[in-house]
Amino acid sequence: MKTRSLIIIIFLFIFSPVAFAELKLTKEQDSRATELFKETRCLVCQSQTIYDSNSEMATDLKLYIIEQIIAGKSNYEIENQLVKNYGEWILMTPAFSQSNYFLWFGPFIILLLGAIMMLRYILKNNE
């Protein structure tokens, strides 16, 4: 635990917190990290992901995510932990959970309803 903290602190001081691509991540890990960065909201910035943001919080979270990837956690597990800490709003895309069903299905329902209404109008007036 202490050694890892030491390594991280060294990374913090020597490397730009932002140039994570140059850290010792495999290609697969790096693309996973980027994926997670683009999905995580920077909570102190308006509308930015931690990938886009240069803020301190973004940097901290990026570091955290990289650590977790190195520690062998899956993307799913990492996201879950972030949600546990900060709440669901840290994810850019709302989860496909029960409370969000209306959000995801709503548009299709309305599209369908709209199509029905439109067709009924046309066919009714076509007598």
């Binding site: 903290s5 991280i8 602190i9 913090l12 909570l43 102190v44 919080m57 901290d60 955290y64 949600v83 546990k84 800490n85 900060y86 709440g87 669901e88």
Partner: protein, 177 residues
């Protein structure tokens, strides 16, 4: 003769429902910010303390208190300075334990801060890189949590102003103590 067709009233009804929704949004108790931790148990964490190399601060400490208040602060954080006297006041309340988490700070600055402004805390944890505070969902200090018997009841983001102390914090504490 006017034909009244009920279906044409659908938009008005939808609008009325929507207006009620907007009204509720306005009147929402904005002070009670949602936090992922509300009504959840205290998150697991452990950190070194400011004054001792041996003692640790962890979730057990918070859970052992009947009513606990956890405040995340730093010496470089100006609103934290302003808020500190409120914390000193709160520390005088019987049955309320205050715990501090010193966030991304230099030890010497933190010690100076406490020396100059007073120590309201039972224990002060040190989180040098901000990692341990992540489980608390900290993103902008100062942040204050009120915990009752190991369950997080309330989260306050930003410094506690006097009116907030009166109108929000004390009533909550009164119910718990």
């Amino acid at each position: 003769m006017n034909k009244i067709k009920i279906i044409y009233f659908t938009p008005v009804v939808i609008v009325l429902i929507f207006l009620i929704f907007l009204f509720q949004l306005l009147n929402k108790d904005v002070k009670k910010l949602s936090s992922a931790l509300i009504e959840k148990p205290v998150p697991e964490f452990e950190m070194q303390t400011l004054y001792s190399d041996i003692t640790l601060l962890n979730s057990n400490d918070i859970n052992s208190s009947n009513v606990a208040l956890v405040n995340v602060w730093a010496s470089w954080c100006i609103p934290c300075r302003a808020e500190h006297e409120i914390l000193m006041l709160l520390s005088k309340i019987e049955g309320l334990d205050l715990y501090g988490i010193n966030y991304k700070d230099k030890k010497i600055n933190a010690l100076n801060f406490i020396d100059n402004l007073g120590n309201p805390f039972k224990k002060i944890g040190v989180d040098k890189n901000g990692r341990s505070s992540m489980v608390w969902g900290v993103y902008g200090i100062p942040e204050t949590f009120i915990i009752h018997k190991g369950t997080v009841i309330y989260k306050h983001i930003g410094p506690i102003h006097l009116n907030e102390l009166e109108n929000v914090i004390l009533p909550i504490l009164a119910k718990l103590l």
